[in-house]
Subunit: 150 residues, 2 copies
């Protein structure tokens, strides 16, 4: 990514005016929680094998993660919604807004990885799904490591 | 719908064993909150006109609602997760589990309406999007009227 993604992120940030900071925090947490549930289903069926693989369920989970990743969550971030204002209610570090270029990059990587997972999950090649799932996990971690408080 | 949808709902209910009741409540609320945010974006752009219509944003919102609707939320419902156990933490009436045939029917209608909205939102015919949005809203209300406490 370059200046374009950062510009898109800023545009997205600017269009959030109608949401209150507490709404941004709640809705973005809802999005991540729902994605986490769906990641867990794929993990159980394709990685751990603790639940039998069901192609339709894995695909539905992957489509959900991708749709949420592409839903414009940038609008749920503003400098008024970090740990500095919300304490234990959020783990978002203020550093996110001090490095929007990097934030845009990790967000773009996440969306691309989620789209790839959604694509391969429409088939039933579990090795491909496993690889794509790993890349989504890496993209989650890249953001957590930089912008999420421990 | 007939016996098949009720059977599918029961299968979905049965596969939830690994989630605790409080997790079911939290995750399903996250899903509905995230859908509500996306419904609000479509409403603002296509119904109220309070925000200029942006085809990509409306389509992304509609895809998100449909993906969540198709994600297998039946696994987030169990008789241990109603207002009887959770009080103010949930508005789910125990009546849901006393009438699974009807619950399956409203759930199926909702998914179909969400899929139709996602389909028309890929184009830019705002009249069609408006009509499909209305049907999603009706399907939401049908469930709320029967199974959600005031």
């Amino acid at each position: 990514m370059g200046g374009l993604s950062a510009a898109l992120l800023l545009t997205s940030l600017a269009s959030q005016a109608q949401l209150k900071p507490e709404e941004q925090v709640e809705i973005r947490q809802a999005g991540y929680q729902f994605m986490s549930w769906n990641m867990g289903k794929i993990k159980a069926q394709v990685i751990d094998g603790s639940v039998p693989y069901n192609q339709a369920q894995v695909s539905a989970a992957a489509q959900t993660i991708a749709a949420i990743a592409n839903s414009g969550m940038g609008a749920l971030y503003s400098p008024q919604t970090t740990r500095e204002q919300f304490g234990e209610q959020t783990r978002l570090k203020a550093a996110f807004f001090e490095n929007l270029e990097e934030a845009g990059k990790v967000g773009k990587n996440f969306a691309e990885a989620a789209n790839q997972l959604a694509s391969v999950a429409q088939g039933d090649n579990q090795a491909s799904i496993k690889a794509a799932f790993g890349k989504v996990g890496q993209s989650c971690k890249a953001c957590h490591d930089q912008f999420r408080a421990k």
